[in-house]
Amino acid sequence: MSMISRLGVRMVVAAVAFGLALPAQAVGFFVDGFELAFGTPATDAEAARFLNQATFGATAASIPQVRASGIPAWIDQQIAAPSTLSRPFLETLAVSENTAGNSLSQSHRVHRWVDVAVTGNDQLRQRVAWALGQMVVASDQDAGLSDEVVMMAEWNDLLVRNAFGNYRTLIAETVLSPMMGRYLTHLRNRKFEIEPRCYDQRPPLNDDTDVNLAGLEYHTCTGSDATNNATLTPRIARYRLPSSGLVAPDENFARELMQLFSIGLVQRESNFDPIIDPNTGLGTPTYNQFTVTVLSRVLTGLSYACSGNRTVAGRAINRTCGCTGTDCSFNTGNFFSTPPSLAINEQGGLVHPDRYESMICYPRYHDTGRDRAGFQLPGSVPTSPPGATIDLAVGESIPGGTPGPVKLIELGGAAPLSLNEVSPGLAVGTAINCDALNGASPTASKTTCLSYCNSGVDAAINLLFNHPNTAVMVARQLIQRMISSNPSPAYIQRVAAAFANNGLGVRGDMQAVVKAVLFDLEARRPLGDPANAVDAGKTREPLLKMIQVWRSFGATPATVPYRRWARFAGGCSSFSWPQCAYQQRPLGAPSVFNFYEPDFQTPGPISDLNLVSPELQIINESTAILGANDIYNQVCAGRGTGSNHNCHGPLRTPLPTDHAWFPDAALDGLPGGNCGTTCTTTNDADLIEVINVRLFGGAMSGTLGDLNNPGNTTLNTGTRGVLYRLLRTVLTGTFGEAVAQNTRRREVLYLLHLAAISPEASNQR
């Protein structure tokens, strides 16, 4: 441990990058016997505060559990807990829903996500996956994914699986994911295609007939004119675009892979400070447009795999591939083939697993620096910024970074990556032409071409993964999602160091990173510790506040035909919940820039204090009230009178069948919850306290210093005082309820809702 702490971050990164083994006595940061400051919560409130950071909400059961085990052991148990996935569940559900005459919809997936968040055992994994999904964003708010329920469920599971894995694996699976391929349009991304035209070499020379049309003055390079009846090597006169027009790599994914999923826009120190270019006074960029163009050339040739007949949820989904194993990479028809879906009872849901399993390389469409006929392309290593071109013919050109023998990717501050073409050669027939291969081609050629494609993608991933920026970008965003919007630079640096090296020489170990986030003193120091910054913590994500209310206070889902949660009312429907109320939707961000941006600053006091407030980007006059109204709708679901459920009456019978509700037993089981119409001052104080512990993590302001005189505002202060006065002086009498406990249940829910929409509850500290 001490040796690691003496090594700077850069040296350790260098050691990893050059493959040096660390000495045997290097140990992981966090091993048995490690004593974590504040590692055993001293109070229920501190335990809940931790659980509100590490789970979707503290519960009556989890608070004593973490107090008994201590935080490190609790985290280890969570890491060991089996993962709760969505896709297999939804595939099984698809069969039963289809049989009943319903298609599988995104609403099914959203309810499943809510169910796992509220009731799943692997809470920490799911919370981390939720954070990762806001960094590496794919979304069903996209024409290519809005109808793909199983694909989005698999994207969810990809995040869940990788939450405690390695970040490089997450990036690699993202690059090969058809979901990301559709979202950022690198599915079926194709290399530049240009066509060589050659000089006439057959006597009589220069008798070309097509003299007026640029580009057609010359001949097909494999034709008899160009080769003088196959006696001469063809000589390229110029290139032209295919008759169907430009085929060029789409740059969408290459850009976001760098900007959002790994290195970001500006070079950073390991504490997130930007590295300023002294010439401009601005942050030194990590990449430029040329890098995007070249990276997009690397990310070409990826499309769905073809794995033949498969069985999903007991149903056969067949697919004819015409190939087996790696030979499928040379069946170019499959590049354009979309794996089928399976309708049951004329309803949709199941799809062939090729639709969501990793894509494969198709060398025919992957950029090798050679054209279709096998000639090396004309570009040389470009030195010019965007605007440079390679002229093909008059009026035709292809963009800067165009194919040449070398693809050079340079990132600011990092070692450049250089990829050479498959093998050198200028003429047809002197080198492997990956375009012309099929399943019957020589094995050595197929291996070379496939390996070139795969290793190019791998090398690009390595370049981005190993860039120092990636550690600090991941560290900062994970802290922002779980702990605090404005971590100190030192906190970011500590977490980035854990990313760079988990203590055992491994870079990108998410378990080490998550532990570094949660164990850090800045996260663990108790509330009220004077060393805490005033503005530590974060605004809660609006959706997560509702999830917590369900989880922390014991709501139960509907059960038939599957566990459903949300009640759709107040302008929300099965298509629009939850974004209608919370501006957030599981795997449904409005764009690849997530629901809010990491650097958003609310104008006014927050920006004056130089704080960022990402979640406040989606909380405004309209949305704050929409959220408050939906919370009321969900809290009072199944209760009250009239068509709008409300808390003005008891739980209805029969019980709800298609949405969640708070069972009477859950409310009665709260401290101070079961006293009917004869509740004492202690009962009311206890009820307020349990809300403070579970929902506020102990942060509720004020004290109750004079229980017998609720109106004593000198001694009954803060939010506590207001809530106490509400219970003791306003919510009195029977409310007309015949059953005394029904009165109390209504009081509990009124109190819970008011607490949930209070300013202090909008914060997680």
Binding site: L282, T539, P603, T719, N763
Partner: protein
């Protein structure tokens, strides 16, 4: 195969090198360099700006296409031919000429609509825009975009240019900021304009002069007179309660029982208690402001307007608001807000609880990032459906302003982060730079094209070789046009119209004189650039 070079080359960021990024304007918020606000003067009367943001990068070269025979032919060639899947050209992005050239019934999209004597054609799905142009109420601005100083293809490496070209959020920020040097500026020109000329929220019953129908936006961020920060107020598109009201808390609920009213009172106690913590405090003020304005100002005012209110269309007004059109929903709300924001003598004795003098609104329509599926049929689908929605919504909005007598006082302008590549990527287009926008209103000298409509070709440089006689505009290899009108210039024109004095313009648009007195602000250095002036001359009544 893959080889990591061991020698590191000095990394020169071509996108932001020594001379590239706006000089020394370091505006990182943490360096505390938010420009100090000059004292403003509330302007007389009422005017409003509406920013219509087309999110994703609108392919506006298909909103207004070339109309001349030669120009249209070049356009068709550059855009990979007229869209015609039946003839095997499903990847083509070009549209038929207004004369019908290229139109094949049932196979291609309809011919464009002639304006300006046939010099241009408006997309056939935007007939309302063509009509407004003909009425002199709509103007087009071709080849406008974020730019730091006039530049050319030949001089591209030697002049300053905006950072992070082709990146959505950066270019969006530059449009909102109103100058092209840095994306780090925290305020937008909409907020800065009202900061100069609008009454503060304290004088308009708490309603700020900046109002959004589509989320927080940098465009509306600014400071009021004296440096008080400006909060933009968010409205919903709800017909009954545009200022969202808290349900079941007894504020405006007519059947509220005693407990609802008291619960509301206790909520108010929580909202009245300031917190030492900035995040809780912000949430507190958001909710408090929202409830006050909703329950006591906006919703009662809207409900209190005597019916039938012409702003809602129908009846004898001669227009209706289109349904199923989220942009129309937003603009209808803007129209209602304009209605209630001032006391108008014709409004049957309605006294506005707001009394605003200047307002800036923000509305947005998404879906314009048409990398895929830009044209998917001959009908109103894909990009054409979006354009149709824009045209119909803007038309209804203008007619609503006419109906309430505010057409001369309200100006709507479009904005979008960039245009799109001229040539196809197979079934769509990718990110480019200069695009085309439009401005609508009674104060607009419409029926004109302000700026230089470029020849639509690929890879044109006037300062090098000329391609195929293309003599307007310069672009890169996929038709990414270098803007010949700056966002700053449009912003300055609208700011002047709103009452900002010419002397204050550089405070809001610090680069504005790069286009007037700067070293490249002359036809020799920058042959394509449209106007070497702070404003777009002639665009707005009264702004010369």
């Amino acid at each position: 195969m893959s080889k990591i070079l061991t020698s590191r080359r000095a990394f020169l960021q071509a996108g932001c090198g020594v001379v590239a990024c706006g000089g020394a304007q370091a505006l990182f918020p943490q360096l505390g360099l938010i420009p100090a606000a000059l004292a403003g003067t509330p302007a007389a009367g009422y005017k409003a700006l509406v920013c219509l943001y087309l999110d994703g990068g609108n392919d506006a070269w298909n909103m207004l296409i070339p109309g001349g025979d030669a120009a249209h032919t070049k356009y068709v060639a550059a855009r990979n031919g007229i869209y015609n899947p039946t003839a095997g050209n499903g990847g083509g992005l070009a549209l038929p000429r207004h004369t019908g050239a290229g139109f094949v019934s049932g196979q291609t999209p309809p011919s464009s609509l002639s304006i300006a004597g046939g010099q241009y054609g408006v997309n056939s799905f935007c007939p309302e825009m063509a009509t407004l142009y003909g009425q002199g109420r709509l103007a087009f601005l071709p080849n406008i975009g974020p730019i730091v100083e006039p530049t050319t293809v030949a001089a591209f490496n030697n002049r300053r240019r905006p950072p992070q070209l082709y990146s959505h959020n950066d270019q969006t920020n530059l449009w909102h900021i109103g100058s092209g040097s840095s994306t780090q500026v925290t305020q937008g020109w909409g907020g800065k304009v009202v900061g100069r000329v609008a009454l503060p929220a304290s004088a308009t019953n708490g309603l700020p002069p900046t109002i959004t129908l589509s989320g927080q936006t940098r465009f509306l961020s600014g400071v009021e007179d004296g440096g008080v920060p400006l909060f933009s107020f968010a409205l919903s598109t709800s017909g009954t309660a545009p200022a969202t009201s808290l349900t079941n808390y007894g504020s405006t609920n007519a059947t509220a029982n005693q407990f609802q009213i008291e619960r509301r009172a206790h909520l108010q106690q929580l909202l009245d208690a300031a917190s030492p913590q900035a995040f809780s405090n912000e949430y507190r003020s958001i909710v408090d402001r929202s409830l006050q304005l909703a329950d006591f100002v906006i919703n009662p005012a809207i409900a209190g307007i005597p019916a039938p209110d012409p702003v809602n269309g129908g009846g004898s007004t001669g227009f209706v608001w289109p349904s199923g059109n989220s942009l129309a929903d937003q603009l209808r709300q803007v129209a209602r807000m304009v209605r209630i924001s001032t006391t108008q003598p014709d409004n049957a004795g309605f006294v506005s609880p707001i009394g605003a003098n200047r307002q800036v609104f923000f509305v947005r329509l998404g879906g314009f990032d048409t990398h895929d599926g830009q044209i998917t049929s001959t009908g109103a689908t894909g990009h054409h459906l979006l354009l149709q929605r824009v045209s119909q919504a803007v038309d209804s909005f203008y007619k609503a302003m006419l109906a309430i007598g505010r057409s001369n006082d309200v100006t709507l302008f479009s904005a979008s982060e960039f245009g799109r590549t001229i040539n196809s990527n197979g079934n769509g287009s990718d990110h480019a730079w200069g695009s085309l926008q439009f401005v609508v209103g009674g104060a607009v000298n419409g029926g004109n094209v302000y700026g230089r409509y470029p020849t639509i070709v690929l890879n044109n440089s006037l300062t090098g070789s000329v391609s195929d006689g293309a003599n307007q505009g310069e672009c890169f290899q996929r038709g990414q046009f270098i803007p010949t009108t700056a966002v700053d210039q449009l912003g300055a024109t609208l700011a002047r119209w709103m009452g900002v004095s010419d002397v204050d313009i550089p405070t809001i648009f610090p680069n504005i004189d790069n286009f007037v007195t700067g070293p490249f602000a002359n036809p020799v250095s920058s042959p394509s650039f449209a106007n070497f002036s702070r404003i777009v001359p002639g665009l707005m009544n009264g702004v010369a």
